[in-house]
Amino acid sequence: MARATVPDDPRFPDDRKGSLAAAVLDDARGGGRGDDGARIGLFLGTGLSSLTPAELAIDLYPHARAAGFDRDAMARDLARDRASPRRHQPERVTEVLGAQIGAIVRETSFSACSAAAQSILQGARAVARGDVDVAYVGGHDSMLHPIGYLSFVVLGALSPTVGRPFDRHRDGFLIGEGAAVLRLQREGDLRAGDAVLGWIVGGGTSVDAYNVTHPHPEGLGAGLAMARALRDASLEPGDIDYVNAHGTGTPVGDEAECLAVHRVLGDAPVSSFKGAVGHTIAAAGAVELALCLGIFGSGFLPGTPGLEEVDPNLPARILRDPTPGRVRHLLSNSFGFGGQNCALVVAAPDV
């Protein structure tokens, strides 16, 4: 379902990502009629979100002093308004929405930019184990506010121009916001007429064990996650028809990912959506996987919006433009600060 706007949800004051999550969960459930009698799980990945303008204005600014904050005054204020410090606790969205849909398992992954992908994988495993019958999985995030931008400005990760993953002149990413939720259930529980958009057939995670803000220069952790996902899916490298890259457009990130893709998957075609939708941070794995589901049956492999001149030093087979082709299996990457990596393998509905 496409929405032109997402209204503020009164349950999540000053928390844009909460409103986004509520909207996409409603869409994914379609009224929840198919959930009757099912044991439901809710697995959401979300992000730092940092300080919002309201938090800045209400909670912090009045107490700023040259040498720091007046902690006593802050504590008095917070004690008067207990709702205030609860606004941005990430699990609150999972709690509220989980209660709404009667979820018996509720988990909030907080794994930086791999959070949504990790949530999808954890939900898929819970369904496969039989812990739940239906899992709503995905992620939500919004850092489209001054302090959100500031977080990445001070790290030098934002592009001053445009997002252009894999371009020889790439210089960072633009921030997006977003949310996506998928409904997962076992094949054996499908009923006549149920739509199938794809099959999650494998997933793998890893840690770089290298640096909290820089990827391993050779993409060792990224490669491990991809190899594990492939093995989990019982597939060979040649079975992957398309790789949806994390592809942020940062010089070091793209290089590390391309090295890893080439090492693990050979010449599998690669592209990134982030030049079109920006980097949706903790939601990226879900937003991009949802977009990937549209590839099946389309007859095309997507190109890389924003990319003009492919960096010749990148070893992977990068798609600048949409290319005719059939995708039976795709692999989607998500990598985060802290060195957390997650790769998911999805099969077409007719595979």
Binding site: L60, G68, E91, R129, V132, T205, V212, G336
Partner: protein, 258 residues
């Protein structure tokens, strides 16, 4: 393939009643007494980009591994790390100078305030910093996860670690939680504490019983130590395990925690 037994081989404990077995003593809410991050194995060069909770967590991972026999023989790719944490959201104190310089004017904030913000402000606030730093320190490259689910974050980390070992994704899993809410009494409305605890899980021997480890009630731990957030359940679990003694290794079912 059926899930394999999972064995607890070591535990670490940092809580307001003390560190390690000393933490089994009388309990009061508050800080972990005598906590010295450097002495507890936290790399000195990273201290300035770690919050107190992260320091506790990194120290607790190191302490748990120090008690685990032969963990280095397991390949790094087969070592997993599962963490319950709280959102750190940077240290607000690092923004104070910039806000003061802005004097309420967004333009001045951008011009005069931003340069006063430490470049590593965001990095210090990453909620998966325990995972990031500890994995680099001990070369843990396997399956992993980081959860922020309030006081249940650590419990979810324990459960997912059990699944990871039982389902053969890793052969060693370090799992637990860390949090520091000392000083947050006004925000949470009651006495607060801090703590960190991690257990080391390995595959059990064939024939081990799939027993379920007892989970002390959250009410109990919070009564003892005050609000501890994501550390509450791991602290209670490690405390119970340590009280049984290192010989009495408990098996854990991989199917009970979800």
């Amino acid at each position: 393939m059926s899930p394999r037994p999972v064995r607890i081989v070591a535990a670490s404990l940092f809580c307001p009643a003390g560190i390690g077995n000393m933490g089994l003593g009388p309990a009061v809410p508050g800080a972990v007494p005598g906590f010295d991050p450097i002495a507890c194995g936290v790399p000195r060069k990273h201290l300035k980009t770690m919050t107190r909770a992260v320091q506790l967590g990194v120290a607790a991972v190191a302490a748990a591994l120090a008690e685990a026999p032969g963990w280095q023989t397991i390949p790094p790719e087969r070592r997993g790390l599962f963490v319950g944490a709280s959102p750190q959201s940077g240290d607000a104190e690092d923004l104070a100078s910039a806000l003061k310089a802005a004097d309420g004017d967004p333009g001045k904030f951008a011009r005069d305030g931003v340069p006063l913000i430490p470049p590593l402000w965001l990095v210090k606030g990453l909620s998966n910093n325990v995972l990031g730093y500890a994995s680099a320190q001990h070369d843990l490259r396997g399956d992993n996860g980081n959860w922020c689910d309030g006081a249940l974050g650590g419990a979810i980390a324990l459960a997912q670690a059990v699944h990871a070992v039982a389902e053969r994704r890793v052969d060693l899993a370090i799992a637990g939680g860390a949090d520091s809410l000392v000083g947050a009494e006004a925000m949470v409305g009651g006495p607060c504490g801090e703590g960190a605890a991690f257990v080391v899980l390995m595959a059990g021997e064939r024939g081990d019983a799939l027993a379920t480890a007892g989970l002390p009630s959250e009410a109990g731990i919070e009564h003892d130590f005050g609000e501890m957030g994501a550390a509450a359940v791991p602290v209670a679990w490690a405390r119970a395990w340590l009280a049984r003694g290192p010989v009495d290794v408990g098996g854990v079912s991989g199917r009970r925690w979800s």
